[in-house]
Subunit: 118 residues, 2 copies
């Protein structure tokens, strides 16, 4: 079963192939909610539930997914604080903080783009 399923059929869905650095960064930022997670982590570390409430309508499944992939890329750090009830705190790493200027730059252009919309 696994063998069969691992047989990647490359016929369709030839993905944007190169892993140039731009694509890498984009794949991170384009994940749903990712910019908002970064935004709320910018100022200070936050716990899972706080993040969830801050962002508003994100489900815990998706929030978990995003945090896990950000963690794997070294953009956020996860710290478990043994206590009862359990607490898990998320914060930006040094690398994560380097995304701030990117978000700011995108916001600036976004404002000009935005005037074209509505």
């Amino acid at each position: 079963m696994i063998g069969a399923m691992m047989n990647k059929q490359r016929s369709r869905r030839t993905p944007p192939p190169q892993d140039c650095p731009l694509d890498v960064c984009l794949r991170l930022l384009a994940g749903a909610w990712t910019p908002k997670v970064l935004w709320y982590l910018c100022d200070e570390p936050r716990r899972f539930g706080d993040l969830r409430r801050d962002i508003g309508t994100i489900t815990s499944k998706v929030l978990t997914t995003r945090l896990r992939e950000m963690e794997e890329l070294g953009v956020v750090a996860r710290e478990v604080i043994p206590s009862s009830p359990p607490q898990v705190s998320y914060s930006l790493t040094q690398l994560g903080k380097e995304l701030k200027p990117v978000l700011d730059a995108m916001t600036q252009v976004g404002e000009k783009l935005g005037r074209k919309i509505e």
Copy 2:
């Protein structure tokens, strides 16, 4: 096109809800191939077919889609040169050129992210 996208009925609940400038910029850049199109238009105007060949494996359907939405946002300009065979030239507008620093910033962070991957 993105404008239409923004009025579209949301399926189940209100997903990525706010249209903050960051989201607007991101929706543009996250379109498949969009960064590459921008990249190849950076230096000089290019014709449709040239862009297609530059990028390599993009289909004309998708290239058209991307160029149309970039045009609607005022990021690229489309110029039809009456001749035989017909020529259509695409170039970055002033606003489009402002995306260059954004791409550069993303590339820089992407390089550091990339070292985490492979």
